[in-house]
């Protein structure tokens, strides 16, 4: 028997006037896991987080926290800490005052607890400062310490890193991950940054237009996207329009590809392949194409090449070529290059609107 989920959402629907922001969303969150809500801006991530927090109650559906139905409880009767994108630190209170805000302890115990929390987020001894005197990254960590102070069972983070510059963001990613590992607190983080989700989460919930498209480990989401949307949204992807010729074969322009397509013959589909999965070294004979390198873009550890393939017409194929490969084969714009599209890496989705 699988253990009871720490948080269970059942049929959550949220409407604003005539607009449906969430459509019957159901989700189980395991105790102690780090979950990311990932999706484009406006897809309902924040709305779902606020439903869990009780800040904007759902129109329909049920929220169970640690086996308790909290669907209709106000935020203060639920058990969670939250960090907002803006941090929402109280500017007139010192860092100590902010972190101690939710504590109900005696003076000395409070002081000790605040110092412990500040040390935990890497800001020991800054209790006397005011938020306005700290950098963005430091404010972020104070907000984290404040949310963790009452030792909540659930930590909610709404785009906690999006207001920071790239370097600080990388550092804080690791710090939040470490903190999660140390405390083992069930954590839900909202982000629109797929890299953030892929590197931080135990599981990712990909959302689109108020519904969940896929729930899975980063590896699942990346390698086995469950929908055309997920395939397109997460990572770089070749999206090639085609038609199912017969079971297991798809026709792309003047090209027939072998792939695992279970759609009926004649159906319009999109064939998806990651640029790094285009096979260049020792291309197989299955799905082999003759390509010409049109442009090459240097991206550090690899080059991103645009390949022209005659039977595909105007459609270009993107391939990531490792720096080694480029050196070994002396590749450059204008070179002819035989490539193959590995059958097991091709993913076929029915075309949008079909």
């Amino acid at each position: 028997m699988s253990p009871l989920p720490y948080l269970r959402l059942t049929g959550i629907t949220k409407t604003y006037g005539g607009f449906t922001a969430l459509k019957s969303v159901s989700l189980d969150v395991r105790r102690g896991e780090f979950l990311c809500f990932l999706g484009p801006s406006g897809c309902g991530k924040t709305t779902l987080l606020r439903v869990i927090a009780g800040l904007d109650p759902q129109t329909e559906g049920r929220v169970e926290l640690d086996g308790r139905d909290v669907s209709r409880l106000p935020p203060s009767a639920r058990d969670y800490g939250i960090v907002f994108q803006s941090y929402a630190l109280f500017p007139n209170l010192s860092v100590h005052g902010n972190v101690a805000y939710g504590l109900k302890l005696k003076r000395d115990a409070e002081r000790a607890r605040v110092e412990e929390l500040l040390a935990m987020v890497g800001l020991p001894g800054s209790g006397a400062k005011f938020p306005g005197q700290l950098s963005g990254g430091q404010q972020q960590r104070v907000a984290l310490a404040r949310a963790l102070a009452p030792a909540p069972g659930l930590l909610l983070l709404d785009e906690p890193l999006s207001a920071l510059d790239a370097r600080v963001r990388l550092h804080l990613r690791r710090q939040i991950r470490d903190l999660h590992q140390r405390l083992g607190i069930t954590t839900i983080m909202v982000t629109h940054d797929q890299e953030e989700a892929l590197t931080m989460a135990d599981r990712i919930v990909v959302m689109n237009n108020g519904v969940i498209d896929q729930v899975g480990t980063p590896d699942d989401i990346y390698r086995r996207p469950a929908s055309r949307f997920v395939a397109d949204f997460v990572g770089a992807m070749n999206m090639l329009p085609g038609v199912v010729a017969e079971t297991g074969r798809v026709r792309l322009g003047g090209l027939d590809l072998e792939c695992e397509a279970d759609a009926v013959p004649g159906a319009a589909v999109t064939v998806c392949l990651r640029p790094e999965d285009v096979q260049v070294r020792a291309p197989a004979w299955v799905n082999r194409l003759d390509a010409v390198i049109e442009t090459m873009e240097f991206l550090g550890p690899f080059h991103r090449a645009r390949l022209a393939v005659e039977p595909l017409g105007e459609q270009r194929l993107t391939a990531d070529l490792s720096a080694n490969l480029v050196r070994d084969l002396d590749l450059g714009a204008g070179r002819r290059l035989p490539v193959s599209l590995p059958r097991e890496r091709l993913r076929v989705f029915e075309a949008a609107g079909a």
Binding site: G54, L55, G67, D69, R72, A88, L93, Y101, G102
Partner: protein, 563 residues
């Protein structure tokens, strides 16, 4: 589906939400009882004659057929239109100099433009009497015309409405996007062309708003025409005569309804204008920084000095006259005119009444406005309720003081009204003044509250801290500057207002501004000037105190304001 019976048996904490909702309901009820119902009463009263018999629209018909009253309508419109035509261009030039030139002393001129706000509208009229009246020092400048009548009214109203127009236009002109000017200059547009194609259109909503506000202020003002109107009748003085003089409440109500028309129009125009004005400035605009232009700056300085000099001159005239032994024959300085008991049996008590009224208005008004604005804008209380309260908070802006005062007579003096005990006390004066100046204060509070992070209340709830703890520990300290502004606004306006209270005071609660009116009526102009100056000294003193307090506050909170 969702059930009320919860596993674990933890009680549902609805206490907080319930109290917040109750707060919003009380606020809405307060605004309905003290704004909407009295306005209803005025409407109903206009349908009854002086013997309390229902006469339908007969009062309106009588109004239209009374030549004296229809003449007043035209007089009112003419005087208001003329004042508007003079004030708006003057104020525009003044505001332009403050915002768009590099002349020195801009802060000082901005402050000087506010001088008239410190005085009741009776004061400029009294000063004009001293300057151009039958014994006026500059009587010869009138070239045989009398200051008593339209000329005096227009000059007095220009003084009285100038700061309001300057304020509106300063705001409109300070929201300029420098990039528009740079683009125009790069395209070779000359200075005049830039003014006509960028500056004027950018300020158009401010201009429209200023026109409506000034027109409404003049047509509903009672102080200036009362003192210097002579036999030139206007609507505002007619209301007073009908109600206070002839006890003809039905006809008073009709005139009150007529006065409501321009005010409501102004209200709507202002509302539309403000929405558009916001849209003009995007978040990515670059603020305009005026460049030095010796000739233009010099001209601006000269103009502002002239205007500010005239404002100071009028105020100084009243101050000077209040200190003269026997104007204009014996100018030896004396404080005798400040011995009010010799002119008016109420003596100094009306000044103390005004002080009490102002303190109460500031305290009660600020508390209600700020808590109310917080409930509406920030509290996690029921949103539909907040939307209703938000609308109710705007309504007082559309009600001129005279109409409000009249409405209160009809409503609170009605035998069936259980709130009738409020009538004849200080409470009704405080309430009417709070309501009269509610909306501007409310909008100040809303602006301050909107600058706070949206999630303070959510953070507080997640940390299981009651929402009012956060209100007291975070919201109030952060909004203290705005709270002080609101308190001062209430105080100064309570000190100077005449229009509503003139209908509502009782002998024991007569405020200073009404004493000015009474003394002037009785021909004791020196006493009236002295009492008006007492109001000015007090308002100015409180403003100075406010400046000091703001400065101290600024310093004490520097640690966390540093960004």
């Amino acid at each position: 589906m969702t059930t009320a019976a919860l596993p674990g048996g933890r009680p549902v904490r609805w206490g907080e939400a319930g109290m917040l909702a109750a707060g919003l309901v009380s606020l809405t009820l307060l605004l309905v009882v003290f704004v909407v119902l009295p306005l209803g009463a005025i409407l109903v009263r206009s349908l009854y004659d002086r013997n309390d018999a229902f006469v339908g629209l007969a009062n309106f018909a009588a109004f239209l057929q009374t030549p004296a009253l229809t003449v007043s309508v035209w007089n009112s419109v003419a005087v208001s239109a003329l004042t508007t035509t003079i004030v708006v261009p003057l104020a525009f030039a003044y505001a332009f100099a403050i915002t768009r030139t590099a002349m020195p002393g801009k802060g000082l001129f901005k402050a000087l433009a506010q001088i008239p706000i410190l005085a009741p509208s009776l004061l400029p009229a009294i000063a004009l009497v001293y300057l151009f009246g039958n014994k006026g020092v500059l009587r010869d400048l009138m070239m045989g015309h009398s200051i008593y009548g339209p000329i005096g009214i227009v000059i007095g109203e220009v003084f009285y409405t100038f700061p309001h127009a300057v304020m509106i236009l300063t705001v409109a002109l300070s929201t300029a996007d420098a990039r528009l000017y740079e683009a125009a200059e790069a395209l070779g547009a000359g200075r005049l062309r830039r003014f006509l194609t960028i500056t004027l259109p950018g300020a158009r909503y401010g201009l429209i708003s200023a026109v409506f506000v000034v027109f409404t202020l003049v047509i509903t003002d009672f102080g200036v025409p009362k003192v210097i109107g002579g036999s030139f009748n206007v609507l505002a003085t007619d209301v007073y005569k009908q109600v206070v003089g002839q006890q003809n409440f039905g006809m008073g109500a009709v005139v009150g309804m007529v006065l409501l028309v321009p005010a409501v129009l102004a209200f709507v125009a202002d509302w539309i204008g403000q929405k558009r004005q916001m849209a003009l400035l995007s978040a990515r605009s670059v603020p305009y920084a005026p460049r030095r232009r010796p000739a233009g700056d010099g001209l601006a300085l000269l103009f502002c000095a002239l205007v500010a000099g005239l404002l100071l001159g009028i105020l100084g005239m009243a101050g000077f006259a209040s200190l003269a032994t026997f104007w204009p024959y014996d100018l030896t300085p004396t404080l005798a005119n400040y011995d009010f008991a010799q002119f008016d049996s109420a003596g100094w008590s009306s000044y103390w009444n005004s002080l009490r009224l102002s303190v109460w208005t500031a305290v009660v008004g600020t508390a209600v406005v700020f808590v109310g604005a917080w409930l509406i804008e920030r509290s996690p209380a029921a949103r539909p309720l907040a939307a209703v309260a938000r609308m109710a908070a705007i309504v007082p802006l559309a009600v001129p003081g005279m109409v409000l005062g009249l409405a209160y007579i009809f409503f609170f003096n009605a035998p069936w009204n259980p709130l009738g005990w409020l009538y004849h006390g200080m409470a009704i004066l405080v309430l009417s003044t709070v309501v009269h100046f509610y909306t501007v204060s409310h909008l100040t509070a809303v602006t301050a509250l909107k600058q706070l992070d949206r999630e303070f209340e959510a953070v507080s709830a997640s940390l299981k801290v009651p929402v009012w703890t956060t209100f007291l520990r975070v919201t109030v300290p952060l909004c203290l500057p705005a709270i002080l502004d609101i308190a001062i606004y209430f105080f100064v306006n309570a000190m100077t207002t005449v229009s509503a209270v003139v209908f509502l005071y009782a002998p024991a609660t007569k405020p200073a501004s009404v004493a000015v009116l009474n003394m002037d009526d009785a021909g004791e102009v020196a006493g009236a000037a002295a009492m008006a100056m007492m109001i000015v000294y007090t308002s100015a003193g409180v403003r100075a105190l406010h400046a000091v307090l703001s400065w101290v506050l600024q310093r004490r909170t520097q640690a966390w304001r540093a960004r």
